[in-house]
Point group: C2
Chain length 164, copies 2
DNA sequence: ATTGACATATATACCGAGTATACATATACT
DNA sequence: AGTATATGTATACTCGGTATATATGTCAAT
């Protein structure tokens, strides 16, 4: 989603080259969300063009290094500070039900059932993952998982609400 | 987000021309989420290319009409039936905190505070909107708003959890 | 020792979705 | 009569993402 800003965050830690950013990103998301390598390089091109990163040159192995600029840091801070907008419609979950309400669609029940089934599986999976994060003492991931679980519980509550 | 499928849903009701789809879409989202008119036509081009819609010709005022095809209906049904995936990271809300955890960022508290403030305002706004929907007996919108409120409450609960 | 698989490393072509903008005609209002 | 706004369609451009090409390095098995 915002690969751009995550690259800025990674460069904030230390200078890196393209491939290092790819691996850094995947480490950040624990290997879930595989990142297409090509996207790293095109994103870096745009970041360099916009003066948010710059290159001090290549390392011994001829890999182009990148560092974050002052403007880049400011962009990153601004992004972090800016609250995310939770629009009613940008969430595909709700938007789908909105569309469904406009087609004479007899299978509303199966739609709800499918969705609920998937979410219950997700909850099981995340609960399991949460335990692993507790064991490996990964507090950030544990935190994120707990957030996702809260969301899923809200979703299921809503599905039950509208199922009547 | 999925303008494409919402156009299919609108064409499922009845044949329309481009501009009618634009107004139909904006009616669907109650005027929130302004749709760029150009996007309607490029999306229709792709839908026609993929044989999901077709044109029976122009009306008296020379506006090109579109109808949904059988393949288009099947695409729409499949999309409606397919549960939305709630990835841990595709949600910018969590992803931002993940990035923040990787920059030595002293302003975590203000980040949380900003986000919470915005969300409390959103709750007020949606609560007000909900009342209007009850008065105008718009059950679908009322339903969506209640879903969004459940999400916002979950978000705030989470922000309080991590604020320590 | 060589083959084959996999990791490292970068680059390009292409597509879908969204924004900006141009360009008409019709209608309403001042 | 002139101007603003609604109706109606189209194109150029950008961004983000996917697929794919390509090259080198490393390690394991035959």
């Amino acid at each position: 989603m915002s690969v751009k800003h995550s690259l800025l965050a990674l460069l904030y830690e230390k200078p890196r080259h393209g491939y290092e950013l790819k691996t850094g990103f995947e480490e950040l998301v624990q290997g879930m969300w595989p990142l297409n390598a090509g996207q790293v390089y095109t994103t870096l091109d745009r970041l360099e063009r916009d003066l948010l990163v710059e290159s001090p040159g290549h390392d011994k192995k001829d890999r182009k290094l990148y560092t974050i600029t002052q403007a880049g840091k400011e962009e990153l801070w601004a992004w972090l500070e800016k609250p995310v907008g939770r629009s009613l419609f940008k969430d595909e979950f709700y938007f789908k039900f909105l569309c469904a309400s406009h087609v004479t669609y007899e299978n509303r029940q199966s739609m709800i059932r499918n969705q609920k089934e998937t979410m219950l599986k997700d909850i099981l999976h995340l609960t399991h993952l949460r335990k692993q994060m507790v064991l490996s003492d990964n507090k950030t991931m544990k935190m994120l998982i707990e957030g996702a679980l809260l969301h899923l519980e809200a979703d299921i509550k809503w599905l039950d609400m509208i199922a009547d």
